[in-house]
Amino acid sequence: MALKVEVVSRESVVWVGEAKYVRARTRNGDIGIMAGHIPTCALLAEDGELLIQPVSGEKVTTRLHEGFLTVSNDRVTIAAKHAKI
């Protein structure tokens, strides 16, 4: 089962798709998310790196500014003030 990932910034949707694995840097350290993760809501580090391993294709990385992340029911939403891929 794959994760449904959505990366949004204040102005637009940056990336949407299915992924095997998502890694993000929270204030406390890196967090890795795979399918079946418990519901989580976390603040991301200032200017932290985000890595998405899509189901098919190359890894996607981006830097996030003032972001946060929610996981529930295999849906991962990453929202940030600024994000670009």
Binding site: E6, V8, S9, R10, E11, S12, V13, T26, R27, N28, I31, I38, P39, T40, C41, A42, L43, F68, T70, S72, N73, R75, T77, I78, A79
Partner: protein
């Protein structure tokens, strides 16, 4: 007689040039509505993500935050008025201001003081003219708001909200703005933004994933949610952003409504100009006909006088 025809000709010329201006303004408004609605659509995924996160936290009853719960006993209210910068938008600003007046009246009758925050030159000049005081006013860009404007307004409002009553703080915040229902219907609405009424868990489940039973179940047992670093910190961070995104949504909606009313006002102005032109043309033709008739009768009567 010739003078009369000339006057009508001038009137027709000036009316048709006005008609061109109305037409242009109508077209500008139409294209800008689409732009405003597009930016509203583009901003909504971020707003949804924020709503989702905030609701997840807020449904954990153990959490309390000054932005969510406040004492029911409110002594001073802030009112944010979203009107337009420019006129020529029909009754847009007037109806917002009318609604504001009735809200102020209502709040005062409940024994509260009212602090005004104004957006738009029309709102500012309304209160300036009546020499009534307001806390702050923002001008410019009401038909094309950006997120920075929303953040600036939020900072001013949160500052007032966080101060205690004795230092001029407010206990709640209302927004008067115009909701964009459709191109033909816009409704002046009062929204209480603070203290926040965060959507219920059930609403939220329906809002994000319609009809998914599993999602619903998860939110009824929201102790399952894990927060990093801590629920309180997440809440402290996200609530101000949530407010900014709500404000931004209101600004965008008000902008779309303003443009829609301007478009409608300009359309009817153009139609009226058409009718005026038609009327003047008829009058001009009458005058020309009368001049010809008069000349003819002068000739005829002159000839008659010579013949007899």
């Amino acid at each position: 007689m010739g003078a009369q025809i000339r006057v009508y000709r001038q009137k027709i010329a000036s009316t048709s040039s006005m008609k061109k201006i109305f037409k242009a303004m109508e077209m500008i408004a139409t294209s800008r509505i689409n732009k405003a609605r597009k930016s509203a659509d583009a901003a909504s995924p971020y707003a949804d993500a924020l709503t989702k996160a905030v609701t997840a936290i807020a449904t954990q009853n153990s959490i309390s935050h000054p932005l969510i719960n406040r004492s029911a006993n409110s002594r001073r209210s802030a009112v944010l008025v979203l009107a337009s910068d420019r006129g020529l938008a029909g009754s847009y600003s007037a109806s917002v201001l009318k609604k504001t007046e009735s809200l102020i009246e209502k709040l005062r009758s409940e024994g509260r003081e009212v602090q005004l925050y104004l957006v738009g030159r029309k709102a500012k000049s309304y209160f300036d003219f009546r020499e009534r005081s307001y806390e702050r006013a923002w001008e410019g860009n009401t038909d094309n708001p950006n997120i920075d404007m929303a953040v600036e307004i939020r900072d001013a409002l949160l500052d007032a909200y966080s101060r205690p009553y004795e230092q001029g703080g407010v206990d709640d915040l209302h927004i008067v703005y115009t909701e964009f229902v459709s191109m033909v219907t816009q409704e002046t609405t009062i929204l209480r933004l603070l203290p926040l009424a965060v959507a219920e868990a059930r609403d939220f489940g329906e809002q994000i994933v319609p009809g998914q039973q599993l999602e619903d179940d998860q939110f009824t047992q929201n102790s399952a949610f894990e927060f990093e670093p801590s629920p309180q910190e997440v809440l402290d961070e996200l609530l101000p952003r949530y407010i900014a995104s709500r404000l931004y949504a209101c600004l965008l909606e008000a902008a779309a409504s303003e443009l829609a009313s301007r478009q409608r006002a300009m359309k009817s102005a153009g139609d009226n100009a058409d009718e005026l032109i038609k009327k003047y043309k008829r009058l001009m033709n009458n005058a020309r006909q009368a001049a010809i008739t008069q000349e003819l009768s002068e000739i005829v009567s002159g000839a008659d006088a010579l013949a007899s």
